[in-house]
């Protein structure tokens, strides 16, 4: 029920169209890349899907992260702008359920985005690499991996947005985090597991390093840890307000 309510609250805030817009922009990347310089990529050796993700996923993942940041800021802004959060706090629901509701909405929205983007990559692969055939299991695996890789980022961003009542502060923190991880060295496994950095990882890359299971497990663990942090914060927030 909370989930439905949270979806309802997003009516006319532009959040869901924003997620869709993010997905369209991200999906446009491989398409444009192939339209403009397909011969550069078709000449490369290796698996077509891998070639495409190597060439485009950095940008696409960054767009996904930025969309998550905007989405999280906006979702909580609708709570704080006209004191909706205060009303929620005096209703007989647990406020952390609201947090989980919002988290679930964002995860669903991101799953939709990822599906759209991976489908775009698959279509590009099928169109420009004649030998390539769609493998639904691979598609599903990629989707799940990318979604799990994004979970720590989503939950941490939701936590930040729920703590800061001024939208520019949560937006600022989110953007600074994106920036900070972009200057991290890329090869380090430990750093690549950080929230805001893990969504750049692709299944193919992780599998090559043999770290796909560690990666998935640690991302899941991070999500749980931030979830607990959100729960604790929810219980102590009254002392700060």
């Amino acid at each position: 029920m909370i989930l439905l309510l949270e979806i309802k609250k997003l009516k006319r805030t532009g959040c869901l169209p924003a997620f869709l817009g993010g997905a369209v922009l991200a999906a446009a990347f491989p398409l444009l890349n192939m339209l403009v310089r397909s011969e550069t990529f078709t000449a490369l050796p290796g698996e077509p899907f891998r070639i495409l993700t190597d060439a485009n996923w950095q940008m696409m993942a960054m767009l996904n992260i930025l969309t998550i940041i905007c989405g999280a800021c906006m979702i909580y802004h609708t709570e704080y702008a006209n004191n909706g959060a205060q009303k929620m706090a005096v209703l007989p629901v647990r406020t952390y359920q609201i947090f989980w509701g919002k988290f679930a909405v964002t995860v669903l929205a991101l799953a939709g985005m990822l599906l759209f983007e991976i489908a775009a990559l698959e279509l590009c692969a099928m169109h420009w690499f004649p030998d390539y055939h769609l493998q639904l299991t691979a598609l599903a695996k990629n989707l799940c991996f990318s979604l799990i890789a994004a979970l720590p980022t989503i939950i941490l961003m939701m936590l930040i947005a729920s703590v800061c009542q001024n939208m520019w502060i949560s937006l600022g923190i989110g953007v600074i985090l994106v920036f900070t991880v972009s200057v991290f060295p890329k090869e380090n496994l430990f750093l690549s597991l950080c929230p805001f950095n893990s969504p750049y990882q692709t299944l193919a890359l992780a599998a090559q390093n043999g770290s796909e299971w560690i990666f998935t497990l640690i991302c899941a663990a991070e999500t749980i840890i931030f979830g607990i942090a959100a729960f604790i914060f929810d219980n102590v927030r009254r002392y700060f307000l």
């Binding site: 532009g14 924003a18 800021c73 906006m74 520019w168 937006l171 600074i176």
Partner: protein
Amino acid sequence: MNFMSLIGVELTKLRRSKIILILLAPVIMMWIPSIVNAEIHFDPQGISITPEYNFFIQGFMGMAWFMIPASLVICTVLLVQTERSHKGLLKMLSLPLGSAKFCLAKFIILLLLAALQMVLSIGTYYLSSAIVSQLWNYNFILEPLYVIPEVLKIYVSAIPLAAVLWMFATLIQAPVFSVGLGLASLVPSVLIINTKFWFLYPMSYPFYLLMIAYGKAAKGIFETEIAWLPWLPTAALITVTALAVSCIRFGASERR
């Protein structure tokens, strides 16, 4: 009232907004990895660049590509939300004040905040280059006569971008769209910089100038001369158009 005191008024409105912290955090963040991994600057990986230039360029790279434009986006949110959250704008519009003047004053504040961030980034650059010089016993510190004009150029090149982002903020009522559009438009600037049409895309201007500096410091990386000609008139046109549009549309939804 004259324009200068209007800017004074606008500065008052930023009190207790914590914006300085938001501007300061990235300029500190940008140097920490550079300090921790300072030894990589001795290994330019086949590019002929001296460690001190490598340190400066690599440090400012993320700044010019992402953080300066993103900070501008955050500042536009700050400016717009400060006016909207308790209907301050409604009060302002009922005072005897031209709304175009008001809009321009806010744009100047945006530029002042960006200037503040540039000053902070120069400060943190000297601090971190001094630290690295001590650690590695090698002089990483570049002359202010080189650093300050380079940063100033990057700053000036961000003005058209600031105007466009300010236009987004005044035109688009839902903050999620103006912010989303602003942030999303930064992502492809790395690709656009390598095309012939980079000068049509204000988001890539600061990065372009940094790449020119890179090209000068390391032969063969990028062009070394700024292509003033299609760029300057285009940039001026973009700036003027964006400002004109935002001045006309400023406060339009409050005046419905």
